[in-house]
């Protein structure tokens, strides 16, 4: 237990445009695994604290990319995950999304792929696409 190391990390909160620079004190075990987040400072609102904890346990991001469109007035449909998904799943998600083709017309918010990689989060359209 005495081998646990205290580490001070600095990174920006990306919740809002203020981009507060957070200083986070964490305790790691001998293998480098996170034991505990001791303190978060530098945040101007409670969201910074929540962000720091999320970032150190399971960082999540909204994934955005495009899928091919059939019969539309655009070749590609921009898509996004409805909510942030674990960053670790992004590469796998890209492999899955790459093969998709959707048919026009499409409305913003339409579900392109349900429950992406069992995250309970849908892949949705970012924009309307009209028929060609």
């Amino acid at each position: 237990m005495s081998t646990n190391a205290i580490e001070k990390l600095k990174f920006n909160c990306t919740t809002c445009p203020s981009e507060c620079l957070l200083t986070v004190e964490v305790e790691r075990d001998a293998d480098g695994a996170l034991v505990e987040v001791h303190s978060v400072t530098g945040n101007n609102c409670p969201r910074g604290d929540k962000f720091a904890h999320q970032e150190l346990t399971c960082p999540t991001r909204v994934l955005t990319t495009t899928v091919a469109v059939s019969g539309g007035d655009e070749t590609l449909l921009p898509v996004r995950t409805a909510e942030a998904i674990p960053l670790a799943l992004h590469a796998q998600a890209m492999n899955l999304i790459r093969g998709l083709v959707v048919n026009a017309p499409i409305r913003m918010g339409d579900v392109v792929l349900e429950n992406l990689l069992n995250t309970n989060i849908d892949l949705i359209a970012s924009m309307d696409i009209d028929p060609a």
Binding site: T14, E19, V62, T65
Partner: protein, 466 residues
């Protein structure tokens, strides 16, 4: 064939007389975030509005900015660029704002006699000059008249020739935004192994986008000793993917005959000059440039609008009116913004002012009485790179925008007139990537006038912390 027929028809009819004309209160040039926000604000103020857009769709550059990060301040939620655009497109479509899509404006005529061909429609315009906007589309030439015009054409990217990278001239050198268009709109892959020069937001965003699409990114190189883009983009686009950011380093040579084969990079000294002996060759087939944006003002200049050499956008007053009465400017054609949300806020202001002008109340109808004798210029000093608006003609609360030229940990805003300090701000950090704004109170403007000053100075001065 259609175009040929049109040309023949026009030749027979005898040039200008055959060009049909439509009259509006406000003509907005550009259908991106700036143009849509300006048009909606003008429409809401009761004006009859037209938007002219050269693409087939509204939305502007937001259509290719598929990443999140938009709307945090305007909609209080994080949207992608297309979602942010779609919300405005839906609003515009729900109005009777006239849309001229696939239409390129080729000139704005604000001279005497402009709009004479629309005199039948404009009897009520009184003394207000009418601007004539000439546009070309597949259907031919068309003229729109407006008592007010809003310039919302956005900006374009600086290219290789503007930063003068030596070496050969092979295929594979793209501006980052062009590569973004290829990948996100046109379904084209620009290359498979990329080097990115410049840490502006588009460069950072493209580092991530290329990586996700299987294009390996060898690194991002930045001439300055700091990253130019937003912190969130350095974190989410580079750090997340382990893409190295090389500061104080630039591309000093492009290598390759038909296609880029490598670039040579060098470290630079404190004067930004490459240091001999630090050259390193980085194999790649693609060089993306994210080296700055320039407001696209050829039309503005043609209309007689004076530009500020610092912003490369129009010199405007507090209502965002240019030096040509009735011509307003907003968004990235006025000065390059950091966030689309700020473009929206500014453009709503310009659109409302344009409507007020067009409908006869004067551009300042909403901002209080134009002060008789209030003629102040606003100039930047110290590390403030510019100050906007450049002219103040009314004693009213005025939002001053500025950017600093280099990052500082501790500095403060000072407002000066005739050598006297009228205001001092709190000491805080400033970053060049952030477009700052400062609310200049009416009483400070009044104080400057009482001093007999003709100029207000916005100074951002670094301070030594104890």
């Amino acid at each position: 064939m259609a175009t040929l027929d049109m040309r023949d028809g026009r030749a027979k009819a005898g040039a200008v007389a055959s060009v049909s004309t439509k009259a509006f209160d406000v003509v907005v040039i550009g259908g991106g975030p700036a143009g849509m926000a300006a048009a909606l604000a003008a429409h809401n103020a009761g004006a009859h509005v037209a938007i002219v857009e050269r693409e087939q769709h509204l939305g502007g550059i937001l259509r290719q900015c598929i990443h999140p990060g938009f709307g945090l301040s305007h909609f209080k939620q994080e949207l992608t660029g297309p979602e942010y655009a779609q919300r405005f497109i839906d609003q515009v479509r729900a109005t009777d704002v006239a849309l001229f899509l696939g239409s390129m404006v080729i000139g704005i005529d604000s001279g005497e006699g402009a709009g004479a061909s629309a005199s039948g429609v404009d009897e009520a315009s009184g003394a207000t000059a009418v601007h004539t906007v000439t546009l070309m589309s597949r259907a031919g030439m068309l003229q729109l008249t407006g008592r007010a015009v809003v310039l919302a054409m956005g900006c374009r990217e600086r290219t290789r020739s503007e930063i003068k990278i030596p070496g050969s001239r092979p295929a594979g050198v793209f501006t980052a935004g062009l590569a973004q268009r290829y990948i996100n709109i046109e379904n084209l892959k620009p290359g498979s192994r990329a080097v990115i020069l410049g840490s502006g937001d588009i460069g950072l965003i493209m580092a991530r986008r290329c990586t996700l699409e299987g294009i390996s990114v060898e690194g991002v190189y930045e001439l300055m000793p700091y990253a130019n883009g937003l912190r969130r983009n350095v974190k989410n686009c580079l750090d997340d993917f382990g893409i190295p950011l090389h500061l104080s380093t630039t591309v000093t040579r492009v290598i390759g005959h038909d296609r880029v084969e490598a670039v040579e990079v060098s470290k630079v000294d404190e004067h930004l000059a490459p240091i001999p002996g630090t050259e390193r060759v980085v194999p790649c087939d693609t060089l993306l440039l994210s080296v700055g944006l320039i407001p696209e003002n050829e039309l503005s200049v043609g209309a007689g609008v004076e530009l500020d050499p610092r912003t490369r956008g129009a010199v405007v007053d507090q209502s965002l009116q240019t030096g040509v009465p009735g011509i307003f400017a907003c968004g990235n054609v006025l000065h390059v913004h950091d966030l689309a949300d700020n473009v929206t806020t500014e453009s709503e202001h310009a659109g409302a002012a344009a409507a007020a002008y067009a409908l006869g109340g004067g551009a300042d109808a909403e901002a209080g009485a134009p002060g008789a004798g209030c003629q102040l210029t606003v100039s930047p000093a110290s590390i403030a790179g510019y100050a906007l608006p450049g002219r103040i003609t009314a004693v009213a609360l005025t939002k001053l925008n500025f950017r600093v030229r280099r990052p500082v940990d501790a500095a403060r805003v000072r407002i000066l007139a005739d050598g006297e300090e009228l205001f001092t701000g709190k000491v805080r950090a400033f970053k060049p990537g952030v477009m700052e704004s400062f609310p200049l109170p009416a009483k400070v403007i009044k104080q400057a006038l009482d001093l007999g000053a003709s100029e207000i100075i916005l100074s951002v001065e670094p301070v030594k912390e104890a």
